[in-house]
């Protein structure tokens, strides 16, 4: 049986302090988007964000522990079996764990469209190996992402970071220019991103 307890899922620590528990990826689900998050008491468990970019409706279901959600400026303290449904993608939402065992399941997608795997699932999944200098592993995950989402700017950008850190300057510059050409915001990110320090003085660097 294809089954896992939430504590048996991969635990990918994110910069904001929460731990991403890949659910969709673990089971190879293609029909809908779903992930879980865990955290320690007082840690972020749902990062503060809107869904403006993706246009997703989201459900956040508390599976364990207690979580204080801030949704559209209102605070709600929820326990196991309670959920927040955020209908409006522009509503700002965030969650902080109040107990060490807190776990939240998120389900989301864009109404009226087939599920499209989000690029962040690949960049998040590659991030621990990138940080640990395991570049082949990071490349493998990001290339898997490019196969699923050809030309995805955030994935190209992260791959540029991997190549820059791995000393593959030409590849890094090519990938970076590709991501900037597809999405202008990466030009700005590139100016201050430490991962790209080794290529910033190259004349081909997008300034």
């Amino acid at each position: 049986m294809n089954l896992a307890h939430i504590d048996e899922l991969d635990a990918i620590e994110m910069p904001d302090g929460f731990v991403w528990r890949p659910v969709r990826r673990r089971f190879g689900i293609r029909a809908f988007g779903t992930n879980a998050y865990t955290s320690r008491a007082n840690g972020q468990i749902v990062e503060e964000h809107t869904e403006n970019t993706l246009g997703h409706e989201e459900i956040y279901l508390v599976l364990r522990g207690r979580v204080r959600f801030t949704v559209d400026g209102d605070e709600h303290e929820l326990g196991p079996g309670q959920l927040v449904y955020v209908r409006d993608p522009s509503v700002r939402r965030a969650g902080v764990a109040l107990t060490d065992d807190a776990a939240v399941l998120a389900v989301g997608g864009k109404p009226g469209e087939p599920h499209d795997i989000s690029a962040w699932e690949y960049t998040f999944a590659a991030s621990p190996s990138l940080r640990a200098g395991r570049f082949d592993e990071a490349r493998r995950v990001l290339h898997e992402g490019l196969e699923a989402k050809p030309g995805s700017p955030p994935i190209l950008y992260d791959l540029a970071c991997v190549e820059a850190l791995a000393g593959e300057m030409d590849k890094a510059l090519e990938l970076l220019n590709e991501s900037v050409a597809a999405e202008e915001r990466f030009r700005e990110y590139a100016q201050t991103d430490e991962d790209l320090a080794s290529i910033r003085d190259d004349p081909r660097f997008p300034s």
């Binding site: 049986m1 029909a31 809908f32 459900i59 364990r64 959920l83 409006d88 087939p114 599920h115």
Partner: protein, 214 residues
């Protein structure tokens, strides 16, 4: 609270009785969630959670034990699933779950690979039918009317409205819905339902029923 979001407590939410003595928490209907099918089932020790079933080709389902404990059977495998367990079931595989503790709740997410989610409305119908059984005919009718208004050309909803009225004892209204459902169903998918659905038993002796079978 703004209307951009909503809070729901699963074990306090409205429930609907469903087939095989199951109890549905019609989460999708209650919230109006649109990107995927989301619902929950609750049962006490020994009780059936979702009814045993298979899903059509392409339909993936993820079951999540929110509280209590369940015993899942998927294909020919059985597993103990305490709270916090996630069970993924691919299409066309038989699945069933029994509560192993009182107050067990299982949340389920479903969808079809490569297709936008399109609610069939079986869950809303379960709620409407629950109202009918509780004597709240007008509340049930309001749900059916709303479903028809949302998808006027979708035959299963109009068919279900016919079932609702047949069970409610309003034969005239039932025939009106069923005739319309038959007309909307240009590909004849409804024929086996007209022949076999026990919901329509109260109408079978009425001479008007013959035209629905033709």
């Amino acid at each position: 609270m703004s209307d951009g979001y909503e809070i729901l407590t699963l074990d306090e939410a409205e429930t609907a009785p469903h087939r095989e003595n199951t109890t549905l928490i019609p989460v999708r209907h209650l919230l109006g969630f649109r990107p995927a099918g989301v619902n929950a089932w609750k049962a006490d020790t020994g009780g059936q959670l979702m009814p045993p079933h298979e899903e059509d080709s392409g339909n993936e389902e993820l079951y999540v034990v929110v509280s209590g404990r369940a015993t899942f059977t998927v294909g020919d495998e059985t597993a103990d699933a305490p709270a916090g367990t996630l069970v993924f079931v691919p299409p066309q595989v038989h699945r069933s779950a029994i509560a192993a503790e009182d107050g067990t709740i299982v949340f389920v997410v479903g969808g079809t690979v490569g297709e936008a989610f399109n609610a069939g409305g079986w869950d809303s119908f379960a709620l409407a039918d629950g109202y009918r059984q509780a004597g709240r005919l007008e509340d049930g009718r309001a749900i059916m009317a709303q479903l028809i208004a949302e998808k006027p050309d979708y035959w299963p909803t109009t068919y279900n409205a016919g079932c609702f009225e047949a069970l409610a004892g309003d034969n005239d209204a039932a025939f009106e819905h069923l005739r319309r459902a038959k007309k909307l169903d240009t590909e004849g998918h409804s024929a086996p339902y007209f022949r076999e659905d026990s919901d329509l038993d109260p109408l079978r002796d009425d001479p008007r029923f013959q035209e629905l079978l033709g």
